[in-house]
Every structure is written in C-alpha cells, then in structure tokens.
Symmetry: C2
Subunit: 134 residues, 2 copies
DNA sequence: ATTCTTATTGACAATCATTATCAGTAAGGC
DNA sequence: GCCTTACTGATAATGATTGTCAATAAGAAT
C-alpha cells in the first residue's frame, strides 16, 4: 500500500481557513480569488488539490451547482444534508434520518446494493425574498 | 414576450427517438455517438440544443453524474426521482411523496421560499453485483 | 542546526464537456 | 412555389478541472 504521509503546508492551511470563513458553499475558483485578495499566492491548482484532500479526509463537503460546478463547504460532522439559498448561498444543515432510511430501503427493495444518495433542498431564504431596493 | 414557434426537425426527432431507446441516463456525447453510428449526421451542438429543448418542454429529465457531466433521460411523466445503478446506468423510477413533502416542510420551516430539491439514489443493481467472469 | 527524502507547490499546458458564432438550410404559414 | 426565420453544421471559444514537471519546503534523522 502506498500510504503517503500528509504534510501540513501554509497553502493547505490557508485553504482550510478560507473555507471555514466562507458562508455556504463556495467554488474552488471563488476560494482562489479570496485567497488572492488576502495576499496569498496559493495557486489555483493547489486550491483544487487542497479541497480534494479536505473532502477525502472528511473535513469538507462537496456538491455540484446547477451548472455543474463543484462547490465546497467546511463540514466536520457526520452525514447530513443541506438546505441552500439559491440566491446568496446561505446553507442550513438538516437532519434526515427518515429520508436516509427511506433511501436505503428503496434501494435494497429493488435489489440495489451499497446505496448512496444525493439529497439537497434549494429555496430562497428570508432575506433574499425581500424586494430589491433600487 | 418573444414566443418563438418551435419547429419539428429531423434532427430533433432523431434525438428524441435515440433518447427514448436509451436505457437509463445517457450523456449528450453518448447520444451523439449513437446517432452517428446509426448514420445520422446530426451535429453534437444540435444534440445539446435538442436535449435542452426536451428538458425545458418536460419531455426529458436531466441530472448530473458524479463527475459533473449532464445526463439525460426520456421522461414524460410528472415529478419523480430515480434509483440509478452506478455500474450500468439502469434506472428505476421511484415515487417519493413523503420525501417531497418532507423537503418542502424543511424548506418552509426555515423560511425558505419556493423550494425545489435534488434527490437521487445510487447503488449497484442485482446483475452488476455478480462477480466478473474472467 | 544541517542534511536528506520526498510530499507538495506553482506555472502552465492539456482535457473535455458545453456554449457561442455565423453563414447556409429548410420548416411551415402564406 | 415563395418568404420568413427557426434550425442546423462546422468550428472556434469558453471555462472549470486535471496533468506535468522542475523547484521548493515539511519533517524525520543526524
């Protein structure tokens, strides 16, 4: 087995921190810009690499936006789902035990093994529902 | 309002037909190849255009694969969700009234308006669970 | 602290799905 | 058949993500 030992680098920490500061889900490109504006010289490729590491280590969550972009979010907790404002990206974590088990049942009752699922709810949050002041 | 009158073209019919023949979800690229192999000269761009038309007219369903590709499926019926084999792409349509209402409740209880949701279940279907014969 | 190994980085090229452009073609109403 | 213009095909453009590879720097050992 190739068990490469991970190292702690400034860049990875910077990405981790930027992600923890972000509200809701953010794209790798957005994080890259944030870091840049804060004076970090972390490269875009490294942002992608760091985010992938964070996701695979369970420190971050990812999902795809409606136009196919990957979005990330700081998320140490266990499995859960999200309610996302389609305007501002604000995110609410939701529990869905019933739905979880429902999904597993549906899968197994159809003979499908090792089920996983994608469940996300989108809506317009309170503040974003207010008419835009011209 | 610009209400451009849609026309029926051979190409669009070809895409519609190819989609109706397809098993499970297929990508635009796959459909393009199928059409090509069947002698159709329909261009890739047109396949994309036709698919988008079909989706917006409710004749087709779309979702994103794990690697960000858009997948399409012939689907005239109302709102429903899918159980998809991650090996062969076979699809089972599932009803989820409970989950639908659950999703709406969650959204409104958090002050989110006009909720929509993404719910898909992935698994390995019976046939694909069999060990591969060498 | 210095040395050494190699994981990680940065810069940039390469991919790849999807979309835009635009001149030519062909539905479908007359 | 004629005319308007939606649609198509070919191809360039876009844009997010990944691969390449020499240079750099973590972290263990000395």
């Amino acid at each position: 087995m190739s068990e490469t030992v991970k190292r702690n680098t400034k860049q990875k920490s910077a990405v981790r921190h930027a992600l923890s500061e972000a509200v809701g889900f953010v794209s790798a490109q957005q994080l890259f810009l944030v870091l840049k504006n804060h004076g970090s010289s972390t490269s875009l490729a490294t942002v992608y690499r760091a985010l992938n590491d964070l996701v695979s280590s369970g420190e971050a969550d990812s999902l795809q936006s409606a136009d196919g972009e990957y979005l990330f979010r700081n998320c140490g907790k266990g499995h859960h789902h999200h309610l996302i404002c389609r305007e501002c990206g604000q995110t609410v974590e939701i529990e869905a035990e019933k739905v979880e088990s429902w999904a597993d049942q549906v899968a197994t009752s159809h003979g499908f093994a090792s089920p996983t699922h994608t469940i996300d709810i989108f809506g317009t949050c309170g503040p974003c529902q207010k008419p835009v002041a011209t």
